[in-house]
Amino acid sequence: MADLALTGITKDYPGGVRALAALDLAVADGEFFALLGPSGCGKTTLLRTVAGLETASAGTVRIGGADVTRLPPGRRDVGMVFQDYALFPHMTVADNIAYPLRVRRAGREERHRAAEDVAGSLGLETLLARRPGELSGGQQQRVALARAMAARPKVFLLDEPLSNLDARLRLEARTFLKRLQNELAVTTVFVTHDQAEALAMADRMAVMEAGRIRQVGTPAEVFRRPANLFVASFIGSTPMNLLPGRVEGEQITVAGAVLPLPVSARGLVAAGEEVVFGVRPEYLEYSGKAADGAFAGRVAVVENLGGSSLVTLDAAGQAVHALVGEGREPEPGARGWAVPRPDRALLYRDGELVVDR
């Protein structure tokens, strides 16, 4: 059981590429923490730096208070699950799981018992004699997890744990992983490029871009109040509406509509300021009747998402997306109005959220 603290982590690759730029990050003991970002943002490099597979150019890594920056991976007490699982193809499942113990020169008896123990808790007991090549993707992933668990590490590191599973299995594995982490209560950091995965699984998450952390918070915080335009456009299955507007007293003009200022920004912006108005499609109330403080326009496209539909309104040349419940879908071409919830709408100035700190 240990917390994880990173201070000033910088990673430069030869040739002047800066993968990580002075990152600070603290993960509490027992927390399920997600590193989220587009590919190439440095999230995997950060994870590998914690594991010791990469050495930071500057900064310190602390696990459970102890400085491990200069320690080799094997002495950091971390268990890692690799994106391709990295199972040893020539060993049976049992030997794979017990490998950390073999390195510690545990006896055959003890290794067997440990492998059976861990395999039992992950539903792998019938597969112990097989080789990784004879397992399905989901089973391979659980073997990789079991191997990491057998080492009884202080911290689990998971590199894109779900990306190699097919869509159906991914949902199952998501629930499974979250429950497992909850039961083990071991500090866990996982890397993902899928915002839905991070929102669903993590206790807290960090959103990264180009080697920097752009926001750290709980999934709810990150979803409701993205700290900047990057996070706002990255998080959410249906992208947030981000529309340029101009402040006019207690109101704001956006896409031909005059709307009340969002609650969070009241008193923080001056008249005449150019800002970006942000509201998620989920927080727009669509109506077929004219309403005050609403985006007005013609319905351009209706996309069926299953339980709801995504309606695209053409409001004064700007596309405004709104989520509409089942059975209330408008016809394309109809006139429509969409009212933003004032307590969920946000304002961004120079790319950053306008908020009372």
Partner: protein, 273 residues
């Protein structure tokens, strides 16, 4: 089926049969001639006898030459595998500028080393190093000639094995030596076996280098000794040559069977990518 189609199929079958016969005849000869009382250069139903084998055993150099072949082949194979494996591993894992160019250059030069073109310099070099008439000399020259290709083949094998396996071992505390022993060697073992078998087959069939560098017929390998099987009249001694050819080819066949059963030229079925 139209008559035209039928004709085409018959013609095709006849052609295949002809090609097959062309390649099968020498093998047929190899199987029948050693047991023939008076073998000729044609394959025929033998007038069955074991006398030829008796004659072969009476030849002072025949059996010893097979032993020499085994020594040369095994020595070269060991040396090639032992040297090519670390080189291939390093070339596969470490980024060296101009790595591929280097490899192709070596590959190109290697065909010269054991080729006829370098015959004289190799002989002079061996002479200066006092390696004439020494098995070690032959082994060293052959190793030099085979190494680049061996490295090339093995590098391909190591390239195909994911680095993450080694990283996993490191994360769980394995030392570099343990990583090598537990993970790298077992995973590339089919590659090592391939290179070993390939080297043995190359050396087994090589004539020029041992012919050039070994003076003492007691040290000559089978490929060279076969060249000396003439009757007093200067005619090829066909009974001896046929029988020896059979003994000469059997070890290679046996090796292929053994190795493919033991290590299996199969892939373990890696992890998902």
């Amino acid at each position: 089926m139209t008559p035209r189609d039928l004709l085409r199929r018959v013609a095709f079958a006849a052609f295949v049969a002809l090609v097959l016969a062309f390649f099968a005849l020498p093998l047929l000869w190899l199987a029948s001639a050693p047991f023939d009382a008076s073998p000729s250069i044609t394959a025929s139903v033998p007038d069955f006898t074991f006398r030829n084998f008796r004659a072969l055993l009476d030849n002072p150099y025949a059996v010893a030459s097979l032993r020499n072949s085994v020594l040369l082949a095994a020595g070269t194979a060991l040396l090639v595998v032992a040297l090519a494996a670390p080189a291939a591993y390093a070339l596969s894992r470490v980024r060296v500028p101009g790595r591929d160019a280097l490899l192709y250059l070596l590959l190109l030069l290697s065909s010269i080393i054991t080729g006829t073109a370098a015959m004289v310099p190799i002989f002079l070099l061996a002479f200066e190093l006092h390696l004439i008439d020494s098995r070690l000399g032959v082994i060293l020259v052959l190793t030099g000639g085979l190494l680049p290709t061996a490295i090339f083949i093995l590098k391909d094998f190591t390239d195909a094995t994911p680095v993450s396996c080694e990283e996993a071992a490191r994360v769980f505390g394995a030392s570099p030596l343990q990583t090598l022993r537990h993970v790298v060697v077992p995973v590339v073992r089919p590659g090592l076996a391939t290179v070993g078998v390939w080297t043995v087959a190359q050396v087994w069939g090589d004539f020029l280098m041992p012919f050039l560098l070994l003076r003492d017929p007691a040290k000559a390998p089978a490929s060279v000794i076969m060249f000396t099987f003439y009757t007093e009249g200067g005619q090829p001694d066909l009974p001896l040559i046929a029988t020896f050819s059979l003994l000469y080819s059997l070890p290679v066949v046996a090796m292929y069977l053994l190795v493919s059963r033991r290590y299996g030229f199969r892939f373990h079925g890696g992890t998902k990518r």
